[in-house]
């Protein structure tokens, strides 16, 4: 019987591969990475005074004029990283349109009239986007500077210094990590 | 016979109606399916009429869907009609004859008059001058001349005799002289003539392997588009659109491959018909298709590649002899030689030296004898001889010398035959008799080669001669000193490499090779055994035709492929006509897709349906005549046909549908 003949190798291979690819390899790889690259392997965590304040590559929410604001998140203002996701609203979605209109109004209210960078009024894919575009950061800079009583150019310089540029102009997009920017901002001596 | 003979068209129009019978139409899945859709749409139209609903659109769609089916059946009927015309003339030959059935084969005096239709295999019959031969048979006694024009169209009588390669006679042919005793070799209804009639009528037509595969593809496409159209109901339901049955029917019929579906069987029948017109009868469509696939042609040297007669081409005097003297001796030695060879020597002498010897009464002609292997003329005490080199030298008792021997060898190596010539016992020199290759044959073989077909010359000559002629004719290979056995071996070897082989033959000893070959063309003049073994019979008994048979096979496949490609490529434009039309009520913005600017949704749909129907009719001539064949390589052929039928299939309907829409506009239909 054809099927019976195949039963032993089929079952054995499934079991063997499960043990090796599902157990041995991940265990060994995890141990190796924990030893070799512990910071990344554990989530690129940033600590302040011994306490975890978040991950360098996971977005968190900031409110108020004191800090640069991250992008809108489909997860809401909590930036709850125990989950992730996008709004999944379509291009002709009326609720998306309403949300965008409200965000545009809020953005121009907070940062003055002018062009509204698209990333500032649209939700990211993960809901945990740690970055904002350079244009967005530069638009926010004067308001942040004003709230912190810093010269605008200091904050603008800071933004420019913290910018990750697109490699060769094509890989990626000029952007700023919001958490890191705000951390550096906090570290600036008050004028 | 012109393509559109009035009588054939009238008959085909009637036949096309009869062919609407769903039971027979089922053989053609696409058109059968279209018929169902047409019936459904008609039902809707009738319902609308009965219920006093607006019925104009459903009715017009239904009519055009029926016309689509009708045009397809008409195409098939046309193809059959053209074959039938020829079948009628064959049938007349078969018309009831009475046979003289011999009770005792040894006694020709006592016979029983029996209708030909009652004859069985093995019956012995007598035919006398003026009788029609009642059935296919083998001559077992007698010699007679037979007029075979009923079958071959050739009116010169041919000799038929017992034994040998000329023992087969065909039912329906007429004895012109003498008498023959025949053994019947076919039961009534299965004679050569019967098979031929059935074939040209298309009655016994079985689908060829390619046709079956193509039908599966087309049926698959039909199902796929059926799914697409039926599920559209669900998508429409969500979108708030409901589609009427005529609209869905129109969309479906336009998308399924009705064009090729409608023309497919016509193409097949027309392919057979082209072969018949060419005086070749194939026992099956499969054989015609195989002819297109052939990779190697086995061609007899004599008659196909060369004229078959050797011709004098040059004089080679021995040292000390003048060429003019040699030429004169040659001419005199050939004066009594009436063979083509002899005549060619006289012609050469006249051409070169203007020697025109007169034959006097006193001259004695010495004819060729197998014993001496010489011939010549004794005249006024002078004697002139020509003959095989070794025989002549032997008779003279001399050695020719080194230069002479070398010239003889060189002539032989070039594929020609050297004849030694003497005058009064003195060796004068040599004359070269050359096997003349037919003009243009080399180019033909080159064309074959570019199509990927190897040509193989079959000859009884020795290897040296064969090699020389092969080189001159430009064949790819040759079989020298051919015997039935080594021919068969060669075919098996080529087939072992995965190639398909075609050959022609006539003798009984060709039968095994004919049977082994993928395409075996038997000569009508050949034996019954050869005709049974082959899968085609050439009524003209012209071995050169093998090349044309291959071309007809290829043309059949090309026509099928071209129309399939055309048909499938048509779909894109039909989408642009129909989709905006059926969705525009729900989403008016989709009118942006109406790139042809068709006037109204109804007119757009109707125009597509009309185009879809008319294109079948428009392509009937192409299907019947076949796509023009060009003997070029596959790559060039593909490029050309893909451009014409692929790209043409994409573009043509845009123009066609737009024109029909404009025409409907002129009459204010659905505006």
């Amino acid at each position: 019987m054809l099927i019976l003949r195949e039963l032993r190798p089929a079952i054995s291979l499934v079991v063997l591969f499960t043990l090796i690819l599902g157990l041995a390899v991940p265990e060994a790889f995890t141990s190796a990475m924990q030893a070799a690259l512990p910071w990344q392997a554990n989530g690129s965590l940033i600590r302040q005074n011994g306490k975890i304040i978040g991950s360098a590559i996971i977005g968190q929410n900031f409110t108020g004029a004191n800090y640069f604001a991250p992008r809108p998140s489909a997860l809401g203002t909590s930036y709850d990283a125990s989950t992730s996701g996008a709004s999944n609203l379509g291009p002709t979605s009326a609720s998306l349109l309403t949300a965008v209109q409200q965000r545009v109004a809020a953005y121009t209210k907070a940062f003055g009239p002018g062009p509204v960078p698209a990333d500032a009024v649209t939700a990211s894919g993960s809901g945990l986007d740690p970055d904002i575009s350079l244009a967005n950061a530069l638009r926010q800079a004067p308001a942040v500077a004003a709230a912190r009583h810093l010269p605008t150019h200091t904050v603008v310089d800071l933004v420019n210094r913290m910018t990750h540029h697109a490699a060769f102009g094509i890989v990626g997009l000029d952007h700023v990590n919001v958490l890191r920017l705000n951390l550096v901002l906090d570290a600036l001596p008050a004028s | 016979m012109s393509l559109f003979d009035g009588a054939i068209i009238r008959r085909a129009a009637l036949d096309s109606l009869a062919k609407l019978n769903p039971v027979t139409l089922m053989r053609n899945p696409v058109i059968f399916f279209t018929e169902i859709i047409s019936a459904l749409t008609s039902f809707v139209a009738v319902e609308d009429i009965v219920q006093h609903q607006p019925y104009g659109f459903p009715l017009v769609i239904a009519i055009w869907l029926w016309l689509t089916v009708l045009f397809a059946t008409f195409a098939e009927a046309m193809a059959e009609g053209r074959g039938r015309a020829r079948a009628e003339s064959l049938k007349r030959a078969r018309s009831e004859t009475m046979a003289k059935l011999l009770v005792d084969p040894r006694d020709r005096a006592i016979f029983k008059l029996t209708p030909a239709s009652d004859l069985c295999q093995g019956d012995i019959v007598l035919v006398k001058a003026g009788d029609i031969i009642p059935s296919d048979a083998e001559v077992i006694e007698g010699v007679a001349s037979v007029n075979e024009s009923a079958v071959t169209g050739e009116s010169a009588p041919v000799v038929r005799e017992a034994g040998g390669d000329r023992s087969a006679v065909t039912g329906g042919t007429q004895l012109v002289s003498d008498w023959l005793v025949l053994r019947i070799t076919a039961d009534a209804g299965s004679t050569f003539l019967d098979r031929m009639i059935a074939l040209v009528e298309g009655a016994e037509r079985r689908k060829t392997p390619n046709e079956i595969a193509l039908n599966i593809l087309l049926a698959g496409l039909t199902l796929i588009f059926l799914i697409a159209v039926i599920t559209l109901v669900g998508f429409g339901h969500y979108s708030g659109t409901s589609f009427s049955i005529p609209v869905l029917a129109a969309l479906l019929v336009c998308l399924i491959p009705t064009t090729i579906g409608g023309l497919l069987s016509a193409i097949g029948i027309a392919g057979m018909d082209r072969l018949v017109r060419f005086n070749v009868v194939a026992t099956s469509g499969r054989a015609v298709e195989a002819a297109g696939d052939v990779d190697a042609l086995l061609l007899d040297k004599t008659g196909t590649i060369t004229f078959g007669n050797r011709m004098a081409s040059a004089f080679f005097p021995v040292s000390g002899a003048a060429e003019r003297d040699l030429a004169e001796a040659c001419a005199l030695a050939s004066l009594g030689d009436d063979t083509p060879e002899g005549r060619s020597i006289l012609a050469l002498a006249r051409e070169r030296y203007n020697i025109v010897p007169q034959r006097s009464e006193s001259a004695t002609v010495i004819p060729f004898s197998a014993n001496t292997r010489m011939s010549g003329l004794d005249f006024a005490g002078q004697s002139y001889r020509k003959g095989a080199v070794d025989s002549v030298l032997k008779s003279l008792g001399v050695e020719g010398g080194a230069a002479f021997a070398e010239a003889a060898t060189r002539i032989g190596r070039a594929g020609s035959t050297p004849l030694a010539v003497t005058a009064n016992g003195k060796l004068l020199g040599l004359i070269e008799l050359k096997d003349i290759v037919k003009p243009g044959i080399k180019e033909r073989f080159a064309a074959m080669r570019s199509m990927g077909i190897r040509t193989v010359m079959v000859t009884g000559d020795n290897r040296i001669t064969a090699a020389a002629i092969a080189a001159e004719a430009g064949v790819d290979d040759y079989i020298a000193e051919a015997t039935p056995q080594n021919k068969l071996d060669y075919i098996r070897m080529v087939q072992g490499e995965g190639r398909l082989v075609a050959m022609c033959g006539d003798g009984t000893n060709d039968a095994p090779a004919l049977a082994q070959a993928d395409v075996g063309v038997a000569m009508q003049t050949g034996t019954q055994a050869a005709r049974e073994a082959g899968n085609m019979v050439d009524l003209d008994s012209d071995p050169t035709k093998l090349i044309e048979i291959v071309e007809i096979g290829k043309q059949l496949l090309i026509t099928r492929g071209a129309l399939t490609t055309f048909s499938i490529a048509n779909d894109i434009s039909k989408y642009f006509a129909i989709l905006p039309a059926i969705f525009v009520i729900t989403y008016p913005q989709l009118s942006a897709l109406n790139v042809m600017h068709l006037r109204t949704p109804e007119s757009a749909i109707l125009s597509a349906v009309i185009f879809n129907a008319l294109i079948i009719v428009a392509l009937v001539p192409l299907a019947l005549r076949g796509v023009k064949f060009r003997p070029v390589g596959a790559a060039a052929l593909l490029k050309r046909n893909l451009l014409v039928y692929g790209l043409g299939g994409l573009v043509a309907p845009f123009a066609g549908i737009k024109l029909i829409d404009m025409a409907l506009g002129v009459f204010n239909i659905f505006s």
Partner: protein, 560 residues
């Protein structure tokens, strides 16, 4: 545009040497892990000298998949009791476990579940990750079997499935996965078995961060064209895809085997031009898709532009800043041109045409370059159909690489195409009539239709990506899409293996000037045309009512 060119250069450049190496794997010429390989055979009782007919090959493949299906089903149901479950995640419902097991057995990686909340680390590692290796290896093995059909005359055997599976896993998938995983960790992908992290944000809030053994799984998820994200946000999640370079790496991983397979084929049949031709057709379709989707997304959403959003940005809803638009669209198009289904941005929020491109690439049968293995054999099916349709035009019975294409092959090929069409269109059409189906939609208007059509397309074509707003964990969609995945995989693969068996047994005819040429620009054009006409046209009516209608409505200023 430059970015697209960069991706193509890196992928195609690597595909040539990789393809040659893979041919050596299939032909058993690579042996550097021979002792390990032999260990597997000994423990599993595999006779490596045995060669299989197509029937035996198919039975072995099906049986192994079936066993593996049940194992995963068990793991998902029982994950609460299994190790590596720091979050104490409960077992899955039978319905969702069926859907998920079908999804991972078929290399689809459709995720009707929420990874962070419904899958434990143990189930990820022991269940999903192993499937990512083996379903990919099974697909490649089937492709290798199909390749062998063209290598010799009158061949009975298509190879040995167990040997192929083992060798492909050991020599191809595992090494590349490990190297890529290290690079991913360097860039920031976590690799830990610890529980979720609690943080106190800079502004004093609290944030729980989901974490796990991400890097290793991410690597095989991309390389094996699987696509099942460790997180719900898939490759949009910063832990799965920390920066633009990892994005490029992941994009490269998911394409490279697909493009290397035709090259392997060229080496196996000893006519490298044949392989390059298939590769070119795949690449052209993908390139057109990449350019089209990029153009659509870069143009932005006119409704939003009218609301005051800067025009220059493009459509940013559902996209991550660190990648930028070209990299986002190229990633998603690549993932749907293959059967990966990974996303680094959310297709549901793409512009209508930007979303149509991924959907249409799937509908074409995923041939650009398609899932590992499955893409290759689907291209072969279309190649046979192309050769058959147009091949007659050179006046010979069509043949491909010396093998005649006849009734049987056409029957099986059409059967495959028919099954795909049936599940996509009937599934989506039917779902849209039911209240349950319409209730699953997150968007209304034509976009809702696109969501449902995309789901059935993705499941049937074993892609796994989604217009993710759809609530897929319903009885209709769990069972329906589960069935679509199983049929889309196996009811296509078995006819293909049967075609391979039939072709293998045929004599290999020598090539001549009369042979239909299956290399060069003309054939590439023909193949693309046939793929679009036979593979894509049947979806045009539905696509017109979905994305196309939405496109014109969007530009007419309509919102729903």
């Amino acid at each position: 545009m430059l970015y697209i060119a960069l991706v193509f250069a890196l992928v195609l450049g690597a595909a040539f040497p990789l393809g040659r190496y893979m041919a050596a794997i299939f032909e058993r010429r690579v042996t550097w892990l021979r002792p390990v390989e032999l260990g597997f055979y000994r423990l599993a009782g595999v006779d490596e000298t045995r060669s299989m007919t197509w029937q035996a090959y198919a039975v072995a493949l099906l049986l192994l998949s079936l066993i593996h299906f049940f194992l995963l089903y068990g793991i998902l149901r029982l994950q609460y009791y299994l190790p590596f479950n720091p979050q104490h995640i409960a077992g899955m419902s039978p319905r969702l476990a069926f859907n998920t097991a079908a999804s991972f057995t078929t290399n689809t990686n459709w995720q009707a579940y929420l990874p962070e909340g419904q899958i434990s680390n143990g189930a990820q590692m022991l269940g999903l990750a192993v499937h990512m290796f083996l379903s990919a290896a099974a697909g490649i093995a089937a492709a290798a079997a199909v390749m062998r059909a063209f290598t010799a005359s009158a061949l009975k055997s298509l190879g040995n499935f167990y040997v192929d599976l083992t060798r492909i896993t050991l020599y191809l998938l595992l090494p590349i996965t490990l190297v890529a995983a290290v690079l991913l960790v360097v860039a920031g992908c976590p690799q830990t078995l610890a529980p979720f992290i609690s943080g106190h944000t800079l502004q004093g809030g609290s944030q729980t961060i989901a974490i796990g053994p991400v890097a290793l799984q991410e690597a095989i998820k991309q390389l094996g064209t699987n696509g099942g994200g460790f997180f719900n946000a898939n490759s949009g999640h910063p832990f799965e895809n920390p920066n633009a370079w990892t994005n490029l790496l992941e994009n490269w991983l998911l394409l490279v085997i697909g493009f290397a397979l035709p090259i392997s084929f060229g080496h196996m049949v000893k006519e490298t031009a044949q392989g390059r031709t298939l590769m070119a057709a795949m690449a052209i379709i993908l390139a057109l898709g990449c350019v089209g989707a990029y153009a659509a997304e870069a143009a932005g959403n006119p409704l939003h532009t009218a609301a005051g959003v800067a025009r220059s940005g493009g459509n940013w809803e559902g996209k991550e800043v660190r990648f930028g638009i070209p990299a986002s669209t190229t990633f998603n198009v690549s993932a749907t041109g293959t059967s990966t289904g990974a996303v680094d941005s959310f297709t549901d929020s793409y512009t209508p045409l930007g979303g149509l491109v991924p959907m249409f690439l799937m509908q074409l049968g995923e041939v650009s370059p398609g899932g590992v293995g499955s893409g290759f054999y689907t291209v072969i099916v279309f190649t046979l159909l192309s050769v058959f349709v147009a091949g007659l035009m050179v006046g010979r019975t069509p043949e491909y690489l010396g093998k005649k294409v006849q009734e049987k092959e056409i029957k099986l090929a059409m059967l495959g195409v028919l099954i795909l069409t049936l599940f996509i269109l009937a599934g989506a059409g039917f779902s849209l009539i039911t209240a349950s189906g319409v209730g699953s939609l997150a968007n209304t208007g034509p976009h809702g239709l696109s969501e449902m059509l995309y789901a059935w397309t993705s499941a049937t074509e074993n892609n796994g990506s989604a217009f993710a707003g759809l609530s897929a964990d319903t009885p209709l969609l769990d069972y329906g899409l589960g069935a679509a995945m199983l049929f889309g995989r196996f009811a296509f693969m078995i006819p293909v293996l049967a075609i391979a068996g039939s072709l293998a047994a045929k004599p290999k005819l020598p090539e001549s000037a009369g042979t239909f040429p299956t290399t060069g620009p003309l054939f590439i054009g023909l193949l693309i045309g046939v793929i679009i006409i036979l593979g894509g046209l049947q979806f045009m009516p539905a696509d017109t009512l979905g994305p196309l209608a939405e496109h014109f409505l969007l530009h007419a200023g309509k919102a729903f």
